[in-house]
Amino acid sequence: MSTRDPFDVQQKPKARAAAPRAAAAKRRNTVVGADAARIAVVLRGFAEGNYDGRVDAGAIDDPGLRAIAEAVNGAASAVVEDLRQAHQRVQIVTAGIDEAIEAMIRLVIQGDLSGSLRAGSTDSALTPLIAGIGQVMETLKKFVTETREAAMQLSTSSAEVLAAATQNESSTSAQASAIHETTATMEELKGASHQIAENAQMVAAIAEQTLSGAKQGEGAIKAFMGSMEKVRHNAVEVDDAIAKLSKRVERIGTVVEVIDEIADRSDLLALNAALEGAKAGEAGRGFSIVAAEMRRLAENVLESTKEIKNLITEIREATHAAKEASDGNKREASEGEKLGGNAMASVSGILSGIQETSDAARVIHLATQQQRTATEQVVQSMSEIEEVTRQAQAGSKQATGAASELTKLAERLAELVKRFKVE
């Protein structure tokens, strides 16, 4: 094999440089130019990858060109041989590569990563490839091992996640149910709070009315006590008047007694005068008539004094009754004042209690209004929480589904990874 490079283009300028000289010598030798042209055609075919062309060196007369033609032909043959060898080597290497790749694929498909790659070709060019594939296999083995462990952990974790998600979904459902019930209860509580607030307002109004009524009652009791004081004072005055009247009546009785005594004596005198007139007979007739008249007057006086005595007796009885009535009035007035005082104390206590009740009712009214507002806010918040919980429940269901899917995927991954044997 020639060591010359058939593609050495540096030689072409020389040939072309020889062309001008050949052209110059054209005149001397046109044949040389034609040979050189044939050589150039062959070289152009080489340049285009066509190594089949050959220069018929025997037909060239010029020794230089002939040598060149022979060199071209030799170079072409060498190149063809080299190409053949290279092609053969490529085929060998390609077969080795294919074998290695097929072995690797076969191992991967079989999942057996426990062994090492055994290449049928011992071409040194495959050594880096085999070494690389070995490294890939080791890396893959390590990766599969780690993936298996990760798959196992993932499976375990996904199962835990699924359990947690299921638990969470259950809890979320229970929470949503509880929140729904709580919301419903809070709605009822809201209505109850509204009713309580209205009732508290009504109680406060009634307490105010009661307070006003109690104050009026207090004023009435004060007026009653004033009246009782007047009654007692009047009873004392009536008592004094009755005492004076009684004294006057007693005085009248004394006077009447005197008058009665005088009338009685007058009657007696008239009787005796009539008696003496009668004793005197006809002479004393006129005397007897006067005496009878005097006696009639005396009897009239006695009759009048008797009536006066009866009247005095009636007046005594009446004054006695009036005195007893007055004493009764004083006792009743005193008792009334005492009862009024007790009633006043009771009403004061009641008034104080009603005042406290009214204040408490007002405070309760305010508190219930605040409670109603707070309850409405709570109901609003509970509605929002319920909505959020509903969303959380939906998310929890989705999470459970995803966890379930993840578990399945993890199991699937574990199953897949189990196919690879690494030990």
């Binding site: 009685d264 008696l275 007979g281």
Partner: protein, 130 residues
């Protein structure tokens, strides 16, 4: 009024009215002014109730005055003597007291006529210790 008349003093003892000749009575007095031992309370005429008047009567010896307690001295009355009648014998026999001497018709009603000194004496006799 014509003809002779009798002057009588009328008095009441209890529910009944009696008559006496005015000369039998010394005077009319008050019971309270007389000592109790001089009073003549219960007699054949009965017992007085009011005891407001006393007819002072002289006893037969006229040494002692007695006061006949009566309920009321009605007054004096002049009546015709024809209206003064003696007590019928049967009635006089029935009466235990001799003080009732007759009767007098006053306004158509008979009123017993009493001899006051006899009445006082009978009371004194009955009251005297045996």
């Amino acid at each position: 009024m014509t003809g002779p008349t009798s002057e009588l003093v009328l008095f009441q003892v209890g529910p009944r009215t009696f008559a006496a000749v005015v000369h039998d009575a010394i005077r009319i007095g008050s019971v309270r002014d007389v000592p109790a031992e001089d009073l003549v309370l219960e007699t054949a005429l009965g017992a007085p109730r009011a005891c407001t008047r006393g007819i002072v009567v002289a006893s037969h010896d006229e040494a002692v005055e007695r006061t006949l307690v009566v309920d009321q001295v009605i007054g004096t009355r002049s009546v015709p003597e024809v209206q003064v009648q003696p007590l019928p014998a049967f009635a006089a026999a029935c009466l235990t007291s001799g003080a009732v001497t007759g009767f007098v018709l006053l306004d158509g009603d008979p009123v017993l006529l009493v001899d006051l000194p006899t009445l006082v004496r009978e009371h004194a006799t009955s009251a005297a210790p045996v």
